[in-house]
Each structure stands twice: as structure tokens, then as C-alpha cells.
Symmetry: D2
């Protein structure tokens, strides 16, 4: 491969009420870089670039695009050549089209997810050591996307064989088929996970926290602000990934994971860890059962050409969630 | 009052399998002071006395007695005089009858709970600064009992008017009746709570932890030992008491609360905090709903004279648990 | 004794620049109840009363008075009768003389410390569960005073025999004399400590924190605000008291201790813990040496009658600090 | 470059007393994979390979070699070709020569540091989720080496230009010369730092911890075991790197850093952060001054051919440490 996808780097979400969204994301400690009546651009405390989260005011909630940063402008050309060869839908958005970001390459990936690649974004002041300005969950950086798709195994093969991702952990389902897979470019557990379900939809965006206590503090802060109902699942420990986690729903239902505690996956001799779908410690190491909504609900995604919501289809594997053994 | 009840200080539990119990309580970081084939005596890391938890091997699980420490031997005589005047059932157990403890006064309190008072217990090495020997939840001290009883208001009045307890917080139920009350002698939120339900039963014993992260560590440790199913509820923040909590069930179903983060209640002008039963932040500040078993299951208690299990009766207030508004 | 001193409850400090003081104390998370051009009244997040810290703008820094809360107005009369009998200097300040507080009894204690007793203070909103408003060290409550005095043993005897304090831990110095003592009314390690040194001076005021991580967060916050030079000693673990501590100096040099992690001292059979002055683990369990300024510098205190600074005298025991063995 | 250095992966240290070393490293939570009378092989809780620390019993303490893992066997050949071309001293150690590890390439780097590259090591059970077996600092993985060398700028250029490292942060000294530099292959702050001083010597080995509280726990554990004197500096926050740190000295004086809290450095547009040598927040963000020994003492390193200790020489830049402004 002549390109280098560096990492998960931003998401563009459609939200219906910027004030409500601002109250929620401010509470998590996101830093507002810039905003107007239609947009808020947020960065996390470690970010040296303009934003990792762009909220656009729209009539309906949706995921416009999920984005990866690549090494250089040339990598974008290499990627477009690949997509052309593969017959994938893609389009260029020239520098200046979107705020604070260089030329981007948008594509509908083979699972239908709207994905964007870019190399350049404006700089912004890094707030990592402005401790007196940190709030709530003190969100440190964007970590990963979790996508609910019809055919995980197809996505798995494509991202590994064609895009150079590696697998850290996976879940085996019916007939040893891959039910879910955690794939990375940066040497963490994942930049993106694919999970079997009605799709294509974005299940959640994961953000990295500096330490586990901050996650507890965040629960307290959200609750005291009257936002306790945004807490959907957790706090808990994932068996798969080992992360200490909390799942939140933003005012439009977009799911946010706060995440801390995975491990380094840089070694070429690291062997992907296999979990059985029904292993109760897989989803929550402590044995807690995830609520039904966690398996059923996710954010709809847009067609990169029409801007319309993509049709959702039944998954390949029938099983939508683990058996809960009580 | 001519007596001074200092604090909640020990519990005597019947368990059916000492090996299983030992695995569980060792994992929580209790220090075994002494044991034989029929008994284990545990202390917590702050204790300077012989034990705060005595497990007796018996055919059936039960709570033999919950105990308070008083200022002096004379206080026991004053208490027995009070019980005599009130016509309460009580009995003396002379020094030497029970391991490591002086003379005790046992009574069946007006709710039917088996309660014991004593002034003297053998000393033991304090392990507070033996940090290299701390394990699991590093349980620091016994904090409180929670009793499920038929008539909370009657218990409330008796403990405050006759025994000198104070109320820190309470829950108002039907027709403004007290549905649950948190009562203390030491200036914390409670030494004992009374909660409306089928009783008399012991709902749980609360133990104090040194810090909130230790509670998270405890979940990880229990799960990695294969004891994840002992986690019943939490971790979470109580609205009432402000404590960061975790509820566990020991191998016989006795419920243990790990607890950190309440506040000082020493001021005479501190006004008890009232919560409405259906306030969703009362039980879990973050909005999490407690499982049904938490409201329904509790440990049976013994008759101090016959040693038989006490008959359980319907509570005065009909409502057994808050309405869950989803 | 016919009076009941409940706990350490407030301090009145003279400071020279309210803006500078406000920047510092706000950073620690104190809640400003009220202020004007000459005064700031601060409470901590657990407080249900108007203030625990009163800063008065004056030409020179000084400690006007340290205060204890008593059970009732009648206790004040009992205390004044005792002081009269003992020939101690005292004066009444009637309700209305000082902001938000009832009648107070001020005395110069036998070590020369200006001490005040009161039973009544105005109520204020308790912020314990307003987590989104907590900042910096999230100071939870006032915990104790540490006084540097000429004759610790005299103070020790007086507070125990005449005022009903108990000793939790002490330091033995020359010829087995008490070099320092930790005395309490509430069942914690202390409400007040007396330490051998040039006095009478106030060495520090200790405030209780909710957990140890908050103390680390506070260091980060102070440093990022440019207030790093206020950190004098720590973070560390005290051998004596077991507390996780941090010592700060406010803009006028008043020393503030942030403190978490001591233990319950309610038992009548708890035996005071003796430490040797030169035991290196006494002051810092991890072996860190306290800086010279920590032993030498302290806040001057006022004469309750003249309002002038009290003359400082040499201590009874020659040794001003432990031998540092390197 | 046709090779890919993945990360800092192991150190081989000479120690004089295996029992003393074992007490210390066990206390930090290292997992002993294997040992005999002359050797201990330790791994950290995240490791899936045999060891990251090899202690060899020898007459004198020394650093035999510091090691990097590379992508494949072929990378070793590419590296040897580079060293040959550059005229660097190197030697092969065939598989079987050293316990549990494949073929290695040893070299004396241009600063004189003994450095080894390898692609293959035996597998070992990963203990990341065996929480009940974690102890002390629960050391999670090896993170970096810090080398004290004569000419930092020369090392800086070589590692970046010839070996493909990137710089995250650096310290500017006299005449804008680089006084110290933090260089990485994995996208963290560093795999190796070079610092101006008498060299070549190994200043310390950094190990990653799961969270900040574990570092505090480690201080308590070491102290209660009587190993408090091993704590040399900290806990504190580094301005440079943002890490929460603790420096320890093992029984032979080898310096170990416990480390948590840096950030991701994967972006190609991340600009190295410059610090001035005398900026007091550079070394400790909170303003604490490092002790003299931290700047003066370091472990001697061996000649890869003779096995003798390398001669130490004066550094290029005269200034050995920052000015301490008090």
C-alpha cells in the first residue's frame, strides 16, 4: 500500500438543537473552537487541530461522515486510485469547501458507511495542560468508531486486505463467522469496530479519557446538571478491549462512549483475541448485561452523493445480541 | 440517657460453606484474625479489635445478631434496665461465652432484629499502614446495617427517642409516612437504616472503603476470580447519602455494600434531608434502576432465645419499591 | 463537663489582597457565599452553614481567631463559667456583631491561641451534589487546626482534662515529653493538633477532600493557573494520621492542608499511637523530607482584646524539627 | 528505510543480589515468567511475550543492553546492512544464545549505548485481566529508555535521519542547542530520550501504569515493605510529556520510572514542543525541584564486544541541570 491511514480523527454529526447539544458536549469537557448559528466545532483537550467533532444543525439527526487522517496529500490520491479501481463511489471536497480542513476524499465504504480521508486541518491551541479549564469528563481525544453493519466479515476482509488495518480482538458468532471485529491503524485496540446488526449505522463514537476516576466524575456531573438520562450503560469494564467504559446518548440519540484502559497493539506477533458471542464477560467483564437499546439503536448515516439517509438492511448473521444467561 | 452507643461494630452471620465464604471475603481484603473448622473471625484494615465479622458454619444461612459498641460496661447495665422497663426481651452473654469479646447484652429490638451491645473486645494488630497486605476492596471498617422491617416509623421513633440516634436522611412514602430512615450514632450518614419491606430481615451490611477507585478495582478482582456473579448492583452514586456504592452477595446470599463518600453529620443544627420515594435520583443519583432482587431479597434473622429463624411479615406501607419511570 | 464541643468549624483570617486570595481559594473549589470590598465568606461543598472561612482585608496577614462549634447556646454559658473559674481571658461577641453567626465566646487559650466558640450560624445551600459546580480540589469541609505553641504538654493536658478532647496520636520528643499531639472532638484523627515551636502561631488549617485523585487534580489546576509556587509540600502520605496530604501557602502565606484518608477514632478503647520524633515515616510515610520552611514558618495570631499580634516565644523543647537522616 | 522499529521492548540489567531485586520488582507488580540462580525474567501485565526485563546476577551493576523490537527478521538484515555501511560496531547473537528470544543484532550506538534489535520472542500468558494477581504498581508495559549522553544533538539527528524516529518534545539549552530530546517510534511521547550529561549511561527505564492512583498505591506499598528509600523523586507531573511520574532506584541503583498520562503523537503535522531548560514547569509542572542525584547518577553501560564498562566522558553542553530559581 502506498498510503498510510494514521487514525480515527473526526466525525460530522447532524443535530437538531445546537443549544441542547452544547449543554451536553460542554459537560463532557469538549473545547469549543468555533461556532455560529448552524455549527459547533469541538476539539478535545489533547487536540492540536481545529476539531474532532463537528455538529451541524439540521432538521433530522444523522451521521454525515466519519473521518480518518492520512499521512499526506499524496495518500489521498493513492486512496482515490484504489477506490476507482475497485469501483467504489467517492468524491473530492476541495480545500475551502469545509471549515478549517484541507482537501478531503469522501467515499461510501463497502458496508455503506460514509467515510472521509484528509491530511490537513488547521491548527488550534492544545489545552492538555490548561488543567484549570478542564471540565466534566475532560475528554482527551477521539479514539474510535463503532459501526453496525450487515456483513462484518466482508468489512473485516476489506479493511485488513485493502486498507491496511489490523485486528486486535474479534467475536465469533454462528458457524465461526465473525460477529464483530476491532480493527486498528494506530496501535490501540481500535480505530474502528464492525458489529453485526441492521446497517449501515453508526453505533457509537469512542473518546479517550485520561483516567478512570474522570469517568465516575462525569456521571456525577451529568446527573447534577439534570442530564442523568443521557447515561445509557456503565460504568463498567469491557472484557473485550479491557476498557473502562461509559455509554451516553447525546440529545439527538447519537451514542458517545467514554473510554480508558486498553493496551498497545503494535507488535506484529500480537495474535487477535477471540471471544465467543455468548461469553458473559465479553461485553461486561463484571457480568452486567447491556440494555436492549444498546443492541438495537444506532445513528443513521447519509449517502455521500444525495445527502439522504441510507436504507437499513437486515444483517447476515441472525443473532442480534448475545444470549443473556441469568 | 445514661448510656452511649458508639457505633455499628460487628455482625455474626451463619454461612453454609466456610471455604466459599473465605474465598469471597478474602477477595474483599478482609484480614482473617483467627479461624477453625466452624468459624472465621475477620477484621477490616482499620480495626484495632479482634473482628467486625464473625462467620459461623451452620446448616442454613442466617443473621445471628448485629452489634453495637458502647462506651463502657456500665452502659450495658443502663441499657438492660431500659429494656427491662420497656418489657423487651433480652439476655446476657457473659465474657467467655463468645470468642474474644466481653460481656454482651442481646435483645430482639422492637422491629424484631437481633441486636447486641458490648463494650469490650480483644485487641488485634491494626493493618491500616500494612499497605502491601491490602487486597481487593481493601475494606477499611464496618460502617452500617440496613434492616428491612414492617414498621419503619415505629423503629425510627424508638431509636431516636429511646436510644439516642439521630436521623440524617429519610424517604417519605404514602401519606408522608417514613418509608426508610438513615440513623446514626457516630457522625456519619448512618449506623443503621430502616427500610419498609417484609421483615424483620437484614438487607445488607455496609463497609467503608478508603477511596472510590478501590471499589472499581474490587469489581475487576471479583470478576477475574470468577466471582463476577456476586456483583448485584452498582457501581453507582447514591442520591441519598451521596455514597459511591457497590452491592455484592456473598456465597450464602448475604448482601454486602462497599461504600465511600458520605459526609459529617455531627452538627446539632443539621436538618434531616427528605427524599420522595419515587425520586429517581434518590436510589441512584445517575438514574440507574436497582434490580428487583435488591428490593425483594434479604437475610433472615434469628430469635435470640430459640435460635430459630424469625417469621417474616408484611410491611405497614404497601409500596415495596419506587415506581420506575422509564 | 456540661458542654459539648462538636468540631472545628471556621477560621477568620486577615489577608492583604482580596483579589489574590479569591483567585487562590476559588481554585481550591471553595464556594463564595457572600462578599464585599472588605470580606469574603467561603463555605466548602458539604457545608450547610454560611461559611467555614472568613477572609478580612487588612494591612497585615494574621489569624484573628479559630473557631469550634458547640451543641447549644447553653454550652457557651458553661464554657464561660469554666473560663471565669480558671481566670482565662474571654469576651462575648453578641449576635449581630459578626456576619451570619450567633453569639460567640472568644478566649485566648492557655497557649495564647485566639479561640472562639459558637452554636449558631445562618444556613446556606449545601453544594455536595452540585457536582457540575465543583472545581479544583473540591474542598469538602474544614477538618482541623494545627497550632505551633511553646508548651505542647500543657496544651495537651488542658484540652483533654478541661475541654474533653481525646488524643489519637502523638509524637514523643526529648525525655519522653510530648513534642506534638493530635486531639479530637469529632471522631477523626483531629480537630486540633499542637506542635512544639515558636508560638503561639497557627501552623495550618486542614480541609477534607472527597478522594485522593482530587488532590492530584488540584496540583495540576494550581500549576496551570500559574499558582504552582503555592505548593509547599507534598503530595504525600503522613505516617502519623495516615492522611494523603498537600500543603499550600495562600497569597499571604497562610498554610492550607488538603487532607484525605484518616480513620475513625470513636472507640473508648482506642489507644493513642506513639511516634518517635525522628522516625522518618512519621512525617512522610514514603520517606520524603519536609522543607525547612514547613517547620519554621507559621501565621501570627491576634490578641482577642487589643487586636494586636501576639508576641512569639521560644518553645519548651529545644528541638524544632526531626533529625533528617540522609 | 526498509526496516520498521516497532517499540522499546526490553532491558537486560546486571544486578548483584537477585533476592533483593526480586523483592523490589515483585513489589512493583512485575510477573516472573522464569528464573534460576543467575537470572530472573520479568514481564509486565500487558505483555504477551516472555519478558521485558531480564535481571542477570553479576559482580557489579550495569546495563548490558537496551532493546527494540522490529517488524520482522528481514528488518534485522536491513539494519545490519545500514550499520555496516556506517561503520558501526555490531554483532549477531543467534537464536538460542539468549533465553526465549530469536536472533538479535547488537550494536554500540553512536552515543555508545549498547542497543539490541530483535523480531521474535517466545509467547507467555497475558495477565492483563488477571486482576486478582496484580500487585503494587501493577506495571503494565515497558514504555521508554532515557539515556544520558555526551552529545544529544548528534544522537537526535542520527535517530531521526537514519533510524526513522520522530521527535515529540525537546529542551533547548545553550545557544539553542538541543539539551534533551524525546524520540518515538510507537505514537507515544517516547521510546527513547537523550539527555545531556556524563555518558554514555542509562538514566532510567520508564514503565507505563494503568492509572494515576496506582502510582500513589505503589508509594504506600513500597513504604510499608520498608522500601521507602527506593523513592527518589515524585510523585509529580512532568511539564514535558505531561506524564504523572514516580522515580525509583532499584537495590543496585538502576532508576525506574513509573509513568502514566502522556498523549498520542501519530500525526505527521504534530510539531515538536520546545521547552527552555530553565523553565521550572518543564521538569515538574507543579514546580517541585528534582534532587541533585537525579541529575548526577545513572547506570553504567557495557561494551557489546568486551563486556567491560564503557568509559564515561564529559558532555558537550556544559550545563548539567536547570538553574533552580527559589
Amino acid at each position: 500500500m502506498n498510503f498510510d491511514i494514521i487514525r480515527t480523527s473526526r466525525a460530522v454529526l447532524h443535530v437538531t438543537d445546537l443549544d441542547k447539544s452544547r449543554e451536553f458536549y460542554d459537560a463532557l469537557g469538549f473545547i469549543e473552537t468555533e461556532s455560529d448559528e448552524e455549527n459547533i466545532f469541538y476539539r478535545a483537550i489533547e487536540d492540536h487541530n481545529h476539531h474532532c467533532l463537528w455538529l451541524k444543525k439540521k432538521a433530522e439527526p444523522a451521521v454525515e461522515v466519519i473521518c480518518y487522517k492520512v499521512r499526506s496529500e499524496n495518500d489521498l490520491d493513492e486512496l482515490s486510485a484504489l477506490f476507482e479501481k475497485q469501483g467504489r463511489v467517492f468524491k473530492w471536497m476541495e480545500k475551502g469547501t469545509q471549515k478549517a480542513i484541507g482537501r478531503t476524499l469522501r467515499t461510501q465504504d463497502l458496508s455503506g458507511m460514509p467515510v472521509e480521508y484528509y491530511a490537513e486541518m488547521d491548527k488550534a491551541e492544545r489545552m492538555l495542560q490548561k488543567f484549570h479549564l478542564h471540565k466534566g469528563a475532560k475528554v482527551q481525544r477521539i479514539d474510535h468508531f463503532n459501526c453496525m453493519v450487515q456483513d462484518v466479515e466482508k468489512a473485516y476482509n476489506y479493511y485488513i486486505d485493502e486498507l491496511g488495518f489490523s485486528c486486535s480482538e474479534y467475536t465469533a458468532g454462528e458457524e465461526d463467522k465473525i460477529w464483530a471485529a476491532w480493527l486498528h491503524r494506530k496501535p490501540s485496540v481500535h480505530d474502528v469496530a464492525y458489529m453485526n446488526g441492521e446497517g449501515p449505522r453508526l453505533h457509537h463514537i469512542g473518546f479517550w479519557l485520561k483516567d478512570p476516576m474522570t469517568l465516575i466524575d462525569c456521571c456525577d456531573v451529568l446527573a447534577s446538571m439534570g442530564l442523568g438520562s443521557s447515561i445509557e450503560r456503565g460504568p463498567g469494564r469491557h472484557g473485550l478491549s479491557n476498557a473502562f467504559f461509559l455509554y451516553l446518548r447525546d440529545p439527538d440519540g447519537h451514542r458517545i462512549e467514554l473510554y480508558n484502559g486498553d493496551y498497545l497493539t503494535s507488535d506484529t506477533d500480537f495474535e487477535p483475541i477471540r471471544w465467543e458471542l455468548d461469553d458473559p464477560m465479553r461485553q461486561t467483564f463484571w457480568g452486567h448485561v447491556a440494555p436492549d437499546c444498546w443492541f438495537e439503536e444506532a445513528s443513521e448515516v447519509l449517502d455521500i452523493q444525495t445527502g439522504e439517509k441510507l436504507k437499513i438492511s437486515e444483517p447476515t448473521l441472525k443473532k442480534r445480541r448475545p444470549n443473556t444467561i441469568i
